[in-house]
Point group: C2
Chain length 343, copies 2
């Protein structure tokens, strides 16, 4: 099978020769060729320059036999077009001013998504021209809860306490903010799909800060709102959650085709609990890239067996980080390819 065919089949739970593989943050700072680009260009410059996006998006595919490329971009572009100032600092991105009330909500800018995300449209078109039909092209955006966490907390936080306080104390401000964010996210994903992306992933990195009850009432409705709009296009939608263990069933009810889980839950349990029409993605412990080859290979085989009965896409539980070992990624690629030669 071609990579793109394999990815799309896995998303739909159809037969594959082996599970497809791609890695969250597969383009990034663990690659010296990416660091070389960043030595000459700021992060925002790369994101907004389609030629540079194409270049760094393709870098991991030149090294590794991956089944998909994911647009090089950042979830915070949505906050940027809403008028927040987004800067990148060593401890994580900073967003200012922090939105805390109706005045903060009123200060958000109206968004003409087609105009604002023209660079995304162009970058996706370049990637599709280079990669399709052999390799799948993935677009992505942040989930409203995660984007709101950055907007209200002003950066990454341990618990999203300010955002929760806003939701409890000023529910109308919270709801309006979430709807504003959700609508821009939906527009962004539709721009990616119209430009030719084969599928999209929604990242809800901070969903794990919520109790199951609060996830269902404060995060899920806005993710569902996006998926309802995006599904009109027909392409598969992947939903990723970090610390997904407590939110598995709720997240699966979002309308997503694929649920991407971190390491917080056993893959076999996830497969057992969910309807077989929902494909799974992820679950590999990123630190296993540091493990001996036999251990990593055994884990990949275990995951492939655990996921049987529905579609499955191999990926990490969290994205690659600057310290991720390149040879570990190569070992993972070999281990996944070996799954195909065994059958």
């Amino acid at each position: 099978m071609r990579s793109r065919e394999r990815m799309l089949a896995a998303c739909r739970g159809q037969a594959v020769d082996r599970p497809p593989l791609w890695l969250m943050r597969q383009a990034g700072r663990y690659l010296p060729e990416y660091r070389a680009v960043r030595a000459d260009h700021s992060f925002w410059e790369v994101v907004r320059t389609p030629e540079l996006v194409e270049k760094v998006t393709l870098q991991p595919l030149a090294r590794f036999e991956l089944d998909a490329a994911i647009l090089f971009c950042d979830i915070l572009v949505v906050l940027d077009v809403l008028g927040a100032e987004v800067t990148y600092a060593p401890g994580g991105p900073r967003v200012s001013p922090a939105l805390r009330d109706q005045a903060g909500l009123d200060a958000l800018l109206p968004v003409d998504a087609e105009a604002a995300f023209g660079y995304v449209d162009q970058a996706i078109r370049r990637l599709c021209a280079r990669l399709q039909p052999e390799t799948a092209v993935i677009g992505f955006a942040g989930a409203p809860w995660t984007l709101a966490a950055y907007l209200v907390e002003g950066g990454p936080s341990r618990d999203s306490a300010q955002l929760k306080a806003l939701a409890y104390q000023q529910p109308r401000v919270f709801e309006s903010m979430m709807e504003r964010i959700a609508d821009v996210v939906a527009e962004l994903l539709l721009i990616q799909l119209r430009a030719g992306a084969d599928l999209v992933q929604i990242f809800d990195t901070w969903a794990g800060h919520l109790s199951p009850g609060d996830y269902t009432s404060l995060a899920l409705p806005y993710t569902r709102r996006i998926i309802e709009r995006v599904k009109s296009h027909g392409a598969p939608v992947i939903l990723y959650l970090r610390n997904a263990a407590g939110h598995l069933d709720a997240a699966a009810s979002s309308g997503c085709d694929v649920l991407s889980v971190d390491t917080s839950i056993d893959l076999a349990e996830a497969r057992q609990r969910l309807d077989q029409s929902i494909a799974l993605q992820g679950n590999l412990e990123p630190a296993l890239l540091h493990a001996p080859e036999a251990r990593l290979r055994a884990e990949v085989e275990r995951m492939a067996r655990a996921a049987e009965g529905g579609g499955y896409i191999v990926n990490l539980g969290q994205g690659l980080v600057p310290s991720s070992p390149i040879d570990g990624v190569a070992r993972l690629v070999d281990a996944v390819r070996a799954l195909g030669s065994e059958s």
Copy 2:
């Protein structure tokens, strides 16, 4: 019922007039009287001075009708006596040198726990003299996985990646380190119990960084080793995990009497999945301290109902933080007391 009687009965799943209440980090920076003490004394000075420990431990009980006092101390005292340098910085504690290999393991100091933790023994004795038999006195320590995460990562980390890499690459160094830590933790807890503490809690804050499989093989055996030793004393043992949703059954198999869970799992589901002989603690969303009174009260009532069928101790899913509102804590205390007057 007296508070101490209520706490001990809840730990053992016996009948209570209402669930008991205490709060993780109930003594701390959200209280101006604590900040006043810290204006004159460093954190280590407070921890190592029994008079000051008594003073700050009692501060929240002077304000709120809580059912237990928890020793004011820090989980990192165990790393301190093993020879690591522990300092407190704005981003979290720093531990140096980071242990990464056999040489680091060899550099750990032998520990005479009775001598090293004499200040803990004295502080517990003072607290028991002041509080028993009315109010329960809780001792505590860190779980080996969490302490090892600080020791190997050199401070708080997002994923404990270095510790996992050590476990995968140098399993003998990892095992020896974990056993060394576990044995000091067990000694510390036994010192607390012999000094009169009514029960102890083991904090495994970073257990949520582990996959269920890795939790069972890399963290649980060392926690179990401690509990086996401590149980000889007969006092109840509480085990706390953050991001507990994926580890519920494994953690309950540790031998603990009470499993303290964060917000990652629904309390009713936890109650349903566990043997009724295991009591539950925690689960309240800390941000609800910012919520309107009716919302907080409804949540406390919901939790008390959800926990029915086994022992239950009201607590937060995570500890209080400097920005926790004092009036929110007061509202929580009122809500829990109201549970008793309804029946």
